[in-house]
Amino acid sequence: MADFRKLLKEREFVFFDGAMGTMLQAKGMKMGAIPELLNIEKPEWIIDIHKQYIDAGTDIIYANTFSANSYKLKNCGHTVDEVIKAGIRNARKACEGTDTLVALDIGPIGQLLEPTGTLTFEEAYEIYKEELIAGQDADLVVFETQTDLYELKAAVLAAKENTNLPIACTMTFEMNHRTFTGCGISNMALTLDGLGVDAMGINCSLGPVDLYPVVKELAGYTDTPIIVKPNAGLPDPVTNTYNVGPKDFAKQMAEFAKYGVKIVGGCCGTSPAYIKELSEEFKNLKRTDIPAVHQAAICSATETVIINQPRIIGERINPTGKKKFKEALLNNDIDYILNQAIEQTNAGAEILDVNVGLPGVDEKQMMIKAVKAIQSINECPLQLDSTIPEVMEAALRVYNGKPIVNSVNGEQKSLETVLPLVKKYGAAVVGLTLDENGIPKKAEDRFKIAKKILEAALKIGIKKEDVYIDCLTLTASAEQDGVMETLNAVYRVKHELGLKTVLGVSNISFGLPGRELVNHTFLAMALTNGLDLPIINPNVAAMSGTVMAYRVLAGHDKNSVDYIQSYNNVLQYMFPTKAPKSKEAQAGSSAAGGGAKAEDNTLEFAIEHGLKNDGARITKEMLEKMDSMEIINNHLIPSLDKVGAEFEKGTLFLPQLIMAADVAQAAFGVIKEEMNKKNGQAVSKGSIVLATVKGDIHDIGKNIVKVLLENYGYNVIDLGKDVDYQAVVDAVRDNDIKLVGLSALMTTTLVSMEETIKLLRENNLDCKVMVGGAVLTPDYAEKIGADFYAKDAKESVDIAKSIFG
């Protein structure tokens, strides 16, 4: 039997088919109908189209299964299994008596994944799994027209874990070389090559000419056979016809031979006539082999970091030695972690280390949650950090892109458990130069372990450029001689093994005064010795500044462009004393200008005018003179009330209300810190659960309510959006909650609100429920069993006051 992999090896070019939808519409299929149902209703149409493509010279036909998934086929009267099996059957029938192969064709599910949509990664996996099992009798699977790298990853994993089918993937790129979800060429190439697919490339969206630069870029990133299946030019919106004919299409396609493309075919607007011209045109062409540039690189779905110069790894997402971080983990406070991510990237971090291990915390669940949440707001790639293989695998699964695994070491057991995960999920890996005997004292012995790790990685198919070595920083105060041993090891690993190097820098200064000075001096030394990936606290200006300055001095930052820009943006922000004049320009600082009057220097004034920095400063000063509860009850809350009253009167508007709340939050922050220091109890007037109900993702209203409630001193347990009924019940029970706030924006999701309330009541939980949202009315709120209707955020505070006093 013919075999896709063999075909790729033996043939100069391989021919895929052209459009199915265009052909079906020509046969009379209505727009918006489900084309796959024709597998059962009109098999003769499908077989006829397949045969036309086979006659035109196609090596592989796509079965008519593109959108045969459980979401699209819902309520159509047929199962996924029936529709796909019928599709494969028709294709096989058309191929009888030929060598033509049949591909199981799978398109996007048709619903967006989180965070933009509501479909989870795990749900997407299950949907694809069902399609793949139904179609496993095909000769290969093609995932095409994909725009979301995350969805494609779910699909590829589902194929690998449930079938033995060879895998081809094509994504759809726009003129800006990105997909609709922002995925770039390098992100696709690095991620798919990591996962291991048989062919990858591009289909749909543009005509051949517009795809030249896209394919050229792709060829530089991968040695995997490249597929190009463009549209027949651009469509006319009124007539829906495409503007490039078969002969021109074939001529334009011929150019791709020079870019190393192996597999060609057509997408929307193409027909058997196109494929016939195409196979004729390519008969006498020779393929130019374009070798990929093998370089160390990792990526998220939208950003690629090439390690061709020192890159900063932010170390702050790690609970070790951080009281607040530990508290956040214990309280399931993901927002705290997210703010750590934002702060570090603003300060210049290019990769973020993520470690959430803490006794008393389910590390696996927390890791999944943290990785998903961080990648929903943050673009830079992650370094997944855990010592537990099960946690590492969970993180690798849900990560969107190609991450770094932190870490493996020279112990046999570690090599055997960690490296297979790195290989399976296509990550890069940090190898620590220690083994069963601990950390060797001498550079020579650390070098040996590095070599051992590299060999073990190569043996199971991990590429050399994906192995980074950490020669381990020891504390200078305790092991002074060790410092130079570490640096020598870095130098040798970098120059003799040709590997990228990693070092956690901050350890060097434990026990010494002026730690920052020691840290950045050591960092500069390490960089000179070949350190590529310093793991540092980027929020310390001297640390990120050292890396930026090093890039100038080592000639990476041509004409100091980045340095100058960073200095303006980052360093100036961090060295405010150096630029006292610019402080006023910062939003949130006193806008009163030069002649600030004494009465303006009050917490009341700061809150009413949205002056965040002043609010925090004044609170600090007040704490020296009065008790924190006095500040809260006599100054903070009354000012917020005043702003709230003006909001109700309509003389002040929502953004100003929130600005005032922000100032209050800053003031609360200062007070909380003070109380923590005194080891007093937390400032909380009561805990409130908030959730945007199941099915709804409009959560800005809920988030506004949250900000206000928090700034009135309530502790908010925010369950997020699209929240299961049971999750609300569990949160109320587990935290002994007296007040729940539910929001919904759509008429369709009010039902979920009603169901949530019903379940709360059924469980006999002693809590009040307040509801809000654009389509709600007081009557409806009462009808669905809510205790309170909040017409706006301000009213939710009034309700909370009535409950907690």
Partner: protein, 229 residues
């Protein structure tokens, strides 16, 4: 028309300010600074895209049917809206997904900016729709047109989203899908129906069919969401 993209160079800030709830007063200096900065941030990430198709209408059945498409327009509101029209434009427009990320980030780190960005994005998607409508109508000189009737408005069922998006192939063409509860994703996206007629059609938007008419903040303030002209 290349690849369904259009560009908007600045956002209608007076509309955005109205969405924020401002009525007769203007934002102060501090707030104005924030609004201008947010406008720049937003313009950097929006990628307005649209897709549309035009169909001949068939009123012979209970629901309004579109010739050549499986989509049926259910409910009396849409039927009334399209009364007297020969054709209908079905369209979908979006600011694309990066706006969602920007909003998420700001809701976390800076709620004031998030609010301002949200209002600006709402103004921007309306602007995009205006522009798309203008482009499409150029093709239909000599026709009168109705206002843009949104899915979910009146008794035009929200469930129409799924089949409407299928008809436009919106997922593939501009990356817009609907969730199980028919919310459009990316979030700043719009679907609507515009009627076309050779004769004059009733065309002014009113609050009568709006599901929000009882709780609407604009109405409470004595105005409406309709752009002031």
């Amino acid at each position: 028309m290349i690849n369904n993209e259009i560009e908007i160079k600045n956002i209608d800030k007076s509309e955005a300010i109205r969405y924020m709830g401002y009525k007769d007063t203007l934002p102060d200096v501090n707030m104005t600074k924030i609004i201008l900065q947010c406008e720049q941030d937003l313009l950097k990430v929006i990628k307005p895209r649209y897709v549309y198709k035009v169909f001949d209408l068939d009123f012979t059945n209970e629901n309004v049917c579109l010739n050549g498409a499986s989509l049926e327009l259910k409910g009396s509101s849409i039927k009334e809206h399209l009364q007297g029209c020969e054709k209908a434009i079905i369209m979908c427009a979006t600011l694309s997904g990066d706006v969602d990320t920007l909003l998420r980030r700001n809701e976390l780190a800076n709620m004031v900016n998030a609010l301002v960005l949200d209002a600006l994005a709402n103004a921007a998607i309306e602007q995009v729709c205006d522009e798309v409508e203008r482009i499409i109508l150029q093709e239909f000189e000599g026709y009168h047109h109705t206002w843009r009737f949104g899915v979910g408005y009146g008794d035009f069922p929200l469930a129409t989203q799924k089949s409407l998006l299928e008809t436009l192939d919106a997922g593939k063409r501009i990356g817009v899908c609907a969730t199980e509860s028919f919310i459009l994703t990316p979030r700043k996206s719009v679907t609507c129906v515009i009627g076309l007629s050779k004769v004059e059609v009733h065309g002014k938007k009113s609050c009568d069919h709006c599901n929000l008419k009882d709780t609407c903040n604009f109405r409470k303030n004595g105005t409406s969401c309709k752009k002031s002209e």
